[in-house]
Amino acid sequence: MVVYPYIPHTDEDREMMMQAIGIQSLEELYGDLGEDILLSDSVPISQGRSEDEVIRMVESIANRNERGIPFLGSGCYDHIIPSTVDAIASLPSFVTSYTPYQAEMSQGMLQVIYEFQSMICQLTGMDVSNASMYDGANALVEAANICVSFARGKHEVLVSPTIHPFALKVLQTWALGTEHRLVMLPEKNGVCDTSALGGMLGGNVGGVLVQSPNRYGFLEDYTGLSDIIHASGALLCVSADPMSLGMQKSQREWGADIAVGDTQPFGIPLSFGGPGCGYLAVVEPLLRKMPGRIVGATTDGKGNRGFVLTMQAREQHIKRERATSNICTNNSLAALMTTVYLSSVGWLGVKEAAHQCYVKSHYLEENLITLGGVELAWEQPFWCEFPLRFHDTKKMRKFIQELRNEHLFAGVRLQALTRCNEDELVLLVAVTEKRSREEIENYLAGARRVLR
């Protein structure tokens, strides 16, 4: 008798079931299919392995990964994650649950989402947040969706050239085959050039999408931007790393109508690049144009506080083709991790982490520049990530390899993201609060050996 831990039916169970429905063999269940469709040969896959064998097999594959200290960023950052996050997020009732459709039965999950939404509003200064999007790029696309549907006749969106290259690709996918047009703004000295914006706005433009910190890690200045944009009847959307909000202006303070980004920096591990967790928050007048799930707080018949999925008439299962977007789900488990992270560290923790990111990255950058042979690609303010420009690719490769020998991942090659030849000498270096003094000094020691 073969026993599989994940398939609990024994031969006796199968006998009982077959007898109950009056068949002699499992093949009879496929009796309605033609002979020509059924496989006559046995399927060429192996018998299957025990749980222990599978674990060993997967571990041996995982051990082929190269481990190192990541000074890598570009949208996915190695931040400190308190153990409370895993302790709560690994609870079976959270891990195994899907989007609650009999939503009000899952008060615990709804409460978590409500708290997530509340925290996003507090961070960004916006009025309403939804229950999360798949990731930051997805959230940015939904912002574009709002820009072309909040008023009639809008089908153009102005896009900053310094948003993450992958987010731009996702936007392009969204626009492809539709009547929506993406118009790129110019780039100057590593930041979005908004000086010519006035002339580019007009009747068809629904919104402007910008990102700070931008793809190079630079902080951008949006002073006066929202006034110009609002005067033309368009919306402003600002995408921001949520941890950077511990130090830079919130989207609300910039006068933005839509705030988006990815909460990966809050409690979500790198996991080889995903999942992330998108956030999307808006000013109140745009509430009915927001896609995704929204949890609201209310009272039940007995006056007790309870949570519900609210404003559902927005969603596509009710509004169908007239909905803003097709999204009607969220990224619950990732949002839970973010919520637990924020609950554990609090606002002071976010500010402290953001401050350490700033201090540590600037320490590394200053000391690298003094070595000579590298400089900041452009002179712009940055928060935790900066673009290092080398003078020749040979030196750059040597630099990366030397640090790799010390089990340090030096940075992300910009060209790998943009596929542009002119970016081949730029390395994006990120330093988070998790990087210890020893790790940073090792980085500098390796850099010294190559650059001197």
Partner: protein, 127 residues
């Protein structure tokens, strides 16, 4: 039983149209408000909009559905019922006393082509 007033005309999409002071007032019938259930939000067109016959730039959201209003008569929006922004439930309470919007520049011929109350009553009976 659905209430139908004799002082106005109707479309098969359950809107009513009443002419007054040179404007065509558009609203929803008793059948419509009853089918929708508790109305929680009305998305009105803007003054100045030009609406063609069949345009759906006005939307009504109830607790269970989101329904477009199929514009029954071509014209220009000169008035919208702002009270519905704060009190959308007025449409349930008094659907004939609350218009959605009013149009100018409509065609009398198009108005005459709409169903009179008897024809609308007969139509509703078939549903």
């Amino acid at each position: 039983m659905s209430e139908i007033l004799a002082d106005r005309r109707y479309s098969k999409d359950h809107e009513w149209v009443m002419l007054r002071d040179g404007k065509a007032y558009i609203g929803i019938s008793d059948y419509a408000q009853d089918s929708l259930g508790e109305i929680v939000y009305v998305d009105l067109p803007q003054v100045g909009d030009h609406l063609a016959e069949g345009d759906d730039f006005c939307n009504i959201e109830s607790v269970k559905a989101a329904s477009p209003i199929i514009n029954p008569l071509e014209g220009d929006v000169v008035e919208v019922n702002k009270s519905l922004e704060k009190n959308p439930e007025n449409l349930n309470k008094d659907c004939y006393g609350n218009h959605l919007y009013a149009l100018s520049g409509y065609s009398q011929k198009a108005f005459d082509a709409l169903l009179d109350s008897k024809a609308y009553e007969a139509y509703v009976k078939t549903l």
